[in-house]
Amino acid sequence: MSVLVFVEINNKLSKSVQEAITYGKNLGAVTVVTYGDVNDSLLLEMGNYGAENVLVCRSLKERNEQLLSKLIVKAVEKTNAEYVILSQDQTGKAVGPRVAANLGAGHISGAIAVPESSEEFTVKTNVFSGKAIAYVSVHSEKKVISVLPNSIPPKEDKVETSIVEFNENLGEGKIKVTKLKPLGDGIPLPEAELVVSAGRGLKGPENWGIVEDLAKSLGATTACSRPVADIGWRPHHEHVGQTGVAIRPNLYVAAGISGAIQHLAGVNGSKVIVVVNTDPEAPFFKAADYGVIGDAFEVLPRLTASINNFKSSQ
């Protein structure tokens, strides 16, 4: 079975790249397709996860989703791949469905597990913003699957890798990027393994120092509840939940968040949830693994100090 995995490489192999290749490896022999000015050493590193061939389109220097869709379709033609795997990140959301529509292939977005059997090809996905799981079967010959970040543990499985220059003529994109306002260099929320989040219980944006301190001590990314983003205490991209970003980190620490159903919808895929709230009746405790009934203004600094102690004793 031939599998094509599309990845984007910046200056290292991000976890989502490792996850996508691992996912592909579970289905068959993996060819990776990527683009840009990438070091050969990084391309070869993908062999550690089982990529046998790496097609690289160096002539495409910038991310342009229209051209990326064409590139992937051309790579499918070249490899005759039955499966196309990508990461369900912002690029994947724009590119995956286009590739599927072009190929007339069934598309599963947000897969959270590798299929158990290939007879009736069925994949597990998150639905209802994480309130439920669906098993979706695909009937088309070709299948496009995007993998939800933090769902598949990357697995090392070293093979010989060869690099193939794949400088296809993709034409011109119609969309012109005039500016990029960067987010900063922290780990983006959907990929973060550790997340510290806070809500209206923090009372005002000036109090976020204790949240950031805790995040820093853990090496975590910060998030917030919707009202906090709506009133402008925190930037919109931190808003998690049903109408914000859906996340599945290993650890989600929620301070001063009540745990409304729409908030839980986006975070209950987290492996471990810690809730800090003054109100013992807060609904969030029902979804928590560890609960601390207490004032965030006291508990968070104390937790930060304990983490710092723990880290320095390691």
């Binding site: 590119v95 286009r98 598309h107 977005s109 439920a132 979706v136 969309i175 919808a265 723990f310």
Partner: protein, 246 residues
Amino acid sequence: MKILVCISKVPDTTSKINFTDNDTKFDENGVQYIVNPYDEWYALVRALELIESNGGTVTTITIGSSKDDPTIRKALAIGANDAVRIDAEPTDSFFVSKQIAEYAKNENYDIIMTGKETIDYNGAQVGAMISELVDMPFVSLATKLDVEGTKATLERDVQAGVEVVEVELPIVLSAAKGMAEQRIPNMRGIMAARSKPLKVVPPFEQKELTTVVKFELPNPKTGCKYIDPENMDELVELLHNESKVI
């Protein structure tokens, strides 16, 4: 300017999610349906703002049965000029996209808008698929849209941050938070919506590519372990040794 806004109905965000028929069907018992928030709050409202300042029309399109009509009337009450309903069950994203693309082909829309994703199936597929099928540029996860003449300027979320892009119309876009503010329909809007045209169109033939065969509810948490707020060392110890996340 001619704008098409894709409107879907979803269970109200407070709905309890249950399944029937051996966990193969969503249990609609007691479920209230609303317009998918991304379609309503962001796509539709921004479309209306654009025609209010530039002139033009906003048409909504929905793939669904007559059970979708109340949701469609809500979109009309907020201010859309007219509505189209393709009379079919929305089986999968490709089916939905194909219907919209086939309908839109002969209508010369300047902008086709979808929401970022539906909050029930979270596919985030339809906008991109339409763009491929009608061969128009696609701007995903747009948080801002301005139009001047035939040029659109948009902001959109990408991994690295926020991108500002320029593109000639026509385009397809998916709308995310930031595009516009929610509008509550007023009495006049609700009255007017009753007599606005809602055209029902038969579907185009398209076979199903994906099927949900079974649903499952996630394992409930087994219970919360409470920790003394004075003793954060204990929490750190548990996170390290018991749950092994740090």
